[in-house]
């Protein structure tokens, strides 16, 4: 990592204009099926060369530990880094506007045919698949993370609290997160 690099510019030292921010995030919104994370990396790092792989990973990592949508957080932070507060708003608008219009169009078309029994049956199947997508996303994440035993135990405990005991989301997050941070801290101390 070169420390001298001005991280408010692209890797080639180009300033990233509001227009480019809007277009870049609009692309991510439009090509992002089942979430934007994968396509965002491709556009930001490879295609538009706004930042290095390492810089992107650390901004996304920050988006992930903050509350709120991970990609939304990343968008806010990048927009601000390149163009200040206005950049955040422009980037977020780019990300959301077209997908929202598409979603509303899709919903309106769907509603027009909702009474058709074939459409209704297909919707039941699509709804089940949508729930499956979330499980698959979690399993894929688990496979890529290669968790240590203590973290695996926390993942399992969180799962049990939510899916088996049906405890409230907010309480589970506010209790499990500090516990897991404390355990990580403790295990690092003992290992080091």
């Amino acid at each position: 990592m070169k420390n001298e690099r001005d991280s408010s510019k692209s890797l080639d030292g180009r300033p990233i204009t509001l227009g480019e921010l809007f277009m870049g995030f609009a692309q991510m919104g439009l090509y992002g099926f089942g979430g934007v994370a994968t396509i965002a990396r491709h556009i930001i790092v490879e295609k538009r060369r706004w930042m290095s792989e390492y810089e992107y990973a650390s901004v996304l990592g920050m988006g992930q530990i903050l509350p709120g949508g991970n990609i939304i957080n990343m968008t806010i932070i990048l927009g601000d880094r390149f163009q200040g507060p206005l950049g955040s708003i422009v980037a977020l608008s780019g990300l959301m506007i077209m997908p929202t219009i598409i979603l509303l169009a899709l919903t309106t078309i769907y509603d027009a045919f909702a009474a058709n029994p074939d459409v209704r049956a297909a919707t039941v199947g699509a709804g089940a698949a949508a729930a499956g997508l979330i499980i698959g996303l979690g399993l894929k994440m688990g496979r890529n993370l290669k968790l240590r035993p203590i973290h695996l135990a926390f993942a399992l405990a969180t799962f049990i609290c939510m899916a088996v005991l049906r405890l409230p989301f907010i309480g589970v997050v506010l209790v499990m997160t500090p516990l897991c941070i404390a355990a990580t801290f403790w295990s690092r101390r003992n290992a080091g």
């Binding site: 530990i65 991970n70 769907y110 074939d118 199947g125 729930a131 499956g132 894929k140 993942a155 997050v173």
Partner: protein
């Protein structure tokens, strides 16, 4: 529009959720379900599953399920209220933390937090899928589709639309054959 109308309820519910929602939209699904189906009766279980499928079929952040809930409850004002309430509080935090980032990134506690959060998020997301499937899916065919779709996402890098499309097709055929 003010008072305890649906717009205010949407804004308060999603605004509060925004501040604690680690793991983003996929992890939030049971809480959105609880708000929309259990607490406020905005949706039935079947309508919730339908809207989840619609939101997943459109491109864009997973987050848009929240926009769609707002749209269903109160049209365009509802959409704006739900979306902005869910975005603004967490975005203000992200904005501030983003500016302080260079100061944080060297600190040990920041890196500990960064490695301690993914396990919690993992537990939340898998539980989210299981809870939503439990609430919104019924019958052997439904659960078969859930497993198929989870496998497509977990084991391949196909576009998730493939899973939604396959689910819709199986549903259609099962419906025609009288199994649904």
């Amino acid at each position: 529009m003010l008072g305890d109308g649906p717009i205010v309820k949407l804004a308060l519910a999603f605004g509060a959720l925004s501040l604690v929602s680690v793991g983003g939209a996929p992890a939030m699904m049971p809480e959105i379900h609880r708000l929309a189906v259990v607490v406020n009766s905005w949706h039935t279980n079947a309508e919730f599953a339908r809207d989840m499928a619609l939101a997943q079929s459109a491109p864009g952040p997973n987050f848009m399920m929240i926009s769609l809930v707002g749209w269903r409850v109160a049209g365009f004002p509802g959409l704006m209220a739900a979306t902005l309430a869910a975005i603004i509080p967490s975005s203000i935090i992200a904005f501030i933390v983003g500016r302080l980032y260079t100061r944080f990134s060297q600190k040990e506690w920041f890196n500990v937090a960064r490695s301690a959060l993914p396990p919690i998020v993992l537990g939340l997301i898998v539980a989210s899928g299981v809870v939503t499937a439990g609430a919104a899916v019924s019958g052997a065919i439904g659960f078969g589709i859930v497993i198929m779709s989870a496998a497509i996402v977990a084991l391949t890098s196909r576009n998730p639309l493939v899973a939604i499309g396959a689910g819709a097709l199986i549903g259609l055929i099962a419906g025609r054959l009288g199994f649904l």
